[in-house]
Amino acid sequence: MGILVKLQVFEGPLDLLLHLIDKNKVNIYDIPIVEITAQYLEYVKSMDREDLNIVSEFLVMAATLIDIKSRMLLPKEVNENGEEEDPRDELVQKLLEYKMYKFMSLELKDRELDAGKAMYKIPTLPEEILQYEPPVDLDKLLSDVTLSKLNDIFQMVIKKQEDKVDPIRSHFGKIEKEEVSLPDKIEYIKDYAKMHKKFSFRKLLESQHTKMHIIVSFLAVLELMKTGTINIAQEKTFDDILITTV
């Protein structure tokens, strides 16, 4: 088993890139793209694959870096003004912009600390004034709203919603996440073991309906071995494993 390394969490690909640039103490305007790309890929490789959405965002940046890396090898492109273009320019601009907002967010945080110490007072209006509710002048409020405008707005809202629905993917069946809990599975195998003093591991797995159930069953068997509830034996490699209750 490999050594578990606690990875620093980054807010996104730009965050990670800034960290690498910082760590390597290199100039943001002259990123050594080969080294940084290698380090970046190294990190992405070690990422937790559980959340594919997050991983895919990091992968897009990885592709961008590789693209820049390959363009760096080619003769430099020249823009309309006859200047040589650096394939890294766009990335540098993005990094600078991101770095700026990250910096500003820290400034804001400082301000929050101070402003958070001010306390306010709840309104203490006399009851009769509190009760007073200004009448709503609907005519004024809705002066330039017509029924057909309202209709247009509704259609626009609905259209926006439909735009969001991907017409291709929405035809796919719904994939539901099935929850299989390890403690439940352990209980199940304990019961199973009570009924069969000695049983086949393969048979146990065959009785599981989905991949997730098989995986969790396997984990449950490992756990029960660890706690000494069961013993396992295997004659030869690839042979069936026999489980006995202790």
Binding site: Y120, L147, L150, N151
Partner: protein
């Protein structure tokens, strides 16, 4: 510590609390005994007597409270009774249109259609009496259902909800085929 700082502290305490605060509590907060605290408060009360102050401190049993001077009452009524500036924002209009066409509708449904929270817009529309609670959905959590008001119908000269301009199925079909075309275009590229 200087007296002025303590006066400031007491002012801040009485302001934030709004209601009456026992001398015991104030004394603890400024870490002085009650007698000293009382002296400081009396001193502070004197300062409030001047003409340019609209608030004062009053003593009630063993407590003190900050309140407005009675002669300020007229101004307060003038502020409090001013109509709030009422505007229908784009967000509110969208929410209103969804309620109008999909009623009775829950907050969650509106949010589902718009893709963002709509608490503020819904509350404002209720305040303006354009939409109102019409019941609860028979579902877990029994969420509130909203619908348009009579004021809404009157304002738009609609006899009943059936009179609302129709959203025809044609339109839906249009949107659908439009969207599909777009995708087709993308695939062709």
């Amino acid at each position: 510590m200087e007296i002025t700082k303590l006066e400031a502290a007491i002012e801040a305490i009485l302001f934030t609390m709004g209601e009456s605060v026992e001398i015991e509590k104030i004394a603890k907060a400024i870490q002085h005994d009650e007698d000293t605290t009382r002296k400081i408060i009396y001193n502070l009360m004197d300062k409030y007597q001047t003409e340019d102050r609209g608030i004062k401190i009053i003593e009630l049993d063993n407590a003190f409270q900050m309140c407005t001077k009675p002669e300020m009452y007229d101004y307060l009524i003038k502020v409090a009774s001013q109509p709030k500036r009422q505007v229908l924002t784009e967000v509110m209009l969208e929410t209103l249109s969804i309620v109008a066409y999909k009623q009775p509708v829950t907050r969650a449904e509106i949010e589902g259609i718009r893709g963002v929270k709509c608490d503020h817009a819904v509350n404002k529309l209720i305040e303006y009496n354009l939409i109102t609670e019409v019941g609860r959905l028979d579902a877990p959590g029994r969420p509130l259902l909203f619908g348009t008001t009579e004021d809404f119908l009157r304002k738009f000269g609609v006899q009943s909800l059936e009179d609302l301009p129709e959203i025809s199925n044609d339109k839906y079909e249009d949107f659908k085929s439009e969207a599909e075309e777009e995708v087709q275009l993308k695939l062709d590229v």
